[in-house]
């Protein structure tokens, strides 16, 4: 279903006219109201009136996570605090949090875009939305919540954690839509199995998963284990929160970016050069309707590809490929770029191990080492040492073939790799470089 037919199927030409108009308004406003942007524009020798077409966007300077931290907490807000009705912050893995604000209109826009997202995933008014994203400073919980209410669905604001209760409520209330991180969806499937509850027989029909990178194979596994359609949603608090882009259930291929509100670019993360559509690189977003916290060319560190091919759902908005990793948690092991999601796709192809893994990177002398800890499952458990060694060697070979990096596989007991109820921690880097 399309929530906002007018804007979601706007012909490209009209869409680009709208983008240019909104981009110019945004640049004028940030130049006038946020000293950080004025300084950056001045340094780059560009003025808002130099933006004559969308092509000119590439002359504007980038904004990075470091800029957000340097202006902690409210330095990049473009409106006085009395107009701000909501604050969120993203969990910084290092240093300070990144703080974002919303005006009443921003909250309404976000709810609209989240309603579009839910509708694109097949949710409707009569659905029971089981929202297991965390509520709080994290944008996941409240973002989905407001969208679900806007859609008119019944939302269960269960938040994360207490997984057994989640299963009971899902069953008793007849939840039809599940929203959480993909790793938590698998954890819920495991929990229900332990409880002797058949999650496949529940009323769940679709899950909307995001906030961490996942793979097609993980989608297959979730769809199989929960007997649902699994839809990828994307968003980040700096840009808005969940609902920046979403897959449509018709195609389940690529996430439509709501281009009437955000302008995406793909750049080479090393050089900053804008790459043509179809090439893989770092996603960059410019917000063009946000009031409290507009962002110009924000470097997400997420790796993706943009493509313009028309979609069978009839939305005209550009699609981004599912995020395949992050340019900053990308590991460089002996000079080879390794994305944890690639390891996952190897494990998904191997019978006998679970797709849960922990990568431990270390350095012995001058040589990087990569240890991949994987959980043995019942199917893969032989009582002979040589079978394990063969399984381990097969995984090591697949990793070497696919990624070009030498890894050592270590088998661990089932369910000993930490299941995070938010974002799964998959990498421990012990190198002191």
């Amino acid at each position: 279903m399309i929530w906002d037919e007018d804007f979601e199927t706007l012909p490209r030409e009209a869409l680009e006219d709208l983008q240019l108009k909104r981009l110019r308004a945004t640049t004028e406003r940030v130049y006038a109201t946020v000293p950080f942007y004025k300084n950056k524009f001045d340094e780059a020798g560009i003025r808002p009136q130099d933006i004559k077409s969308l092509i000119d966007l590439k002359h504007l300077p980038f904004t990075t996570k470091i800029d957000l931290r340097d202006n902690y907490p409210f330095g990049l807000f473009a409106v006085p605090m009395e107009q701000v009705v909501r604050i969120h912050a993203s969990s910084g893995t290092t240093g300070k949090q990144t703080v974002v604000g919303y005006t009443r209109r921003d909250i309404n826009t976000w709810a609209e875009l989240m309603a579009r997202s839910l509708a694109a995933a097949g949710a409707q008014k009569n659905d029971m939305i089981h929202n297991a994203y965390g509520y709080g400073l994290f944008t996941g919980g409240l973002g989905v919540h407001y969208g679900a209410e806007k859609l008119g669905a019944s939302v269960i604001p269960i938040s994360g954690g207490n997984s057994k209760r989640q299963i009971i409520i899902m069953q008793d209330f007849g939840s039809t839509v599940l929203t959480c991180t993909p790793s938590y969806a698998l954890f819920l499937a495991e929990t229900s199995e332990e409880m002797g509850v058949d999650i496949k027989k529940m009323k769940l029909k679709v899950g909307i998963f995001g906030a961490e990178p996942w793979s097609e194979r993980m989608r297959d596994e979730i769809e199989h284990k929960l007997n649902i359609d699994a839809i990828d949603i994307y968003g980040l608090s700096e840009v808005m929160g969940p609902g920046v882009s979403i897959e449509c259930i018709e195609a389940k291929r690529g996430l439509h970016i709501f281009e009437d509100h955000f302008i995406p670019e793909i750049i080479n993360p090393q050089t900053g050069e804008v790459l043509p559509h179809g090439e893989k690189g770092e996603l960059v977003f410019t917000t063009i309707t946000k009031e409290a916290f507009p962002l110009i060319r924000y470097r997400t560190r997420d790796i993706s590809v943009l493509y313009r091919q028309p979609c069978k759902c009839s939305r005209t908005h550009v699609r981004m490929e599912r995020v395949s990793g992050r340019s900053d948690d990308m590991l460089i092991i002996r000079g080879v770029n390794v994305f944890p999601s690639q390891i996952e796709s190897v494990l998904m192809n191997v019978a006998g191990v679970e797709p849960h893994y922990l990568l431990v990177v270390d350095r012995q002398g001058t040589l990087d080492t990569l240890e991949v800890q994987v959980e043995v499952n019942q199917k893969g458990f032989s009582d002979e040492v040589k079978d394990f060694q063969m399984l381990g060697r097969r995984i090591e070979k697949d990793i070497k073939d696919l990624l070009g990096v030498t890894a050592v596989v270590r088998m661990v007991e089932p369910k000993t790799i930490q299941r995070s109820e938010g974002k799964a921690q998959r990498v421990i880097d012990k190198r002191k470089i």
Partner: protein, 143 residues
């Protein structure tokens, strides 16, 4: 003629073995024979117990990976060269022994050795033909 053995995957870390034996003890499962194959990272604990079902039921919910394997309990004369004679019979028939371990108790005059073969049925037939005594599972569990 076969004996059921349970195998448990263990990480090579302090306390792993203690945990398994504690769980079995609390479930009232008696261990009749055991062996531990170890590597740098993990071990495989193989057990003959008096009640396989009870052992599986106790360990499964605690997150242990447990598997049943068929092994053969062979009576071996308790004198120099006793084991060698049996292994010679197997070697001549080109039956491979994957692993073996000794049982704690004796059966009369004879020692009992638990064998895992690559071809279990052929090994049983061959040994029976050569008048080597093989113990029934039920007897082994309660010996």
């Amino acid at each position: 003629m076969k004996v059921e053995q349970i195998s448990i995957f263990l990480e090579n870390k302090p306390g792993a073995l203690a945990e398994v034996t504690r769980i079995l003890g609390e479930a009232g499962v008696n261990i009749r024979a055991l062996s531990l194959a170890d590597t740098k990272d993990f071990g495989i604990l193989r057990l003959i117990v008096n009640d396989n079902e009870k052992a599986k039921e106790a360990l499964g919910p605690k997150g242990f990976t447990v598997r049943k394997t068929e092994v053969v309990a062979v009576e071996v004369p308790d004198r120099p060269g006793g084991l060698a004679e049996i292994l010679k019979i197997l070697a001549e028939a080109r039956i491979n022994v994957e692993y073996l371990y000794a049982f704690v108790q004796q059966s009369g005059e004879n020692a009992i050795i638990i064998f895992r073969f690559d071809e279990t049925d052929r090994a049983i037939a061959l040994l029976s033909e050569k008048n080597v005594r093989i113990l029934e599972g039920q007897k082994v569990y309660t010996l």
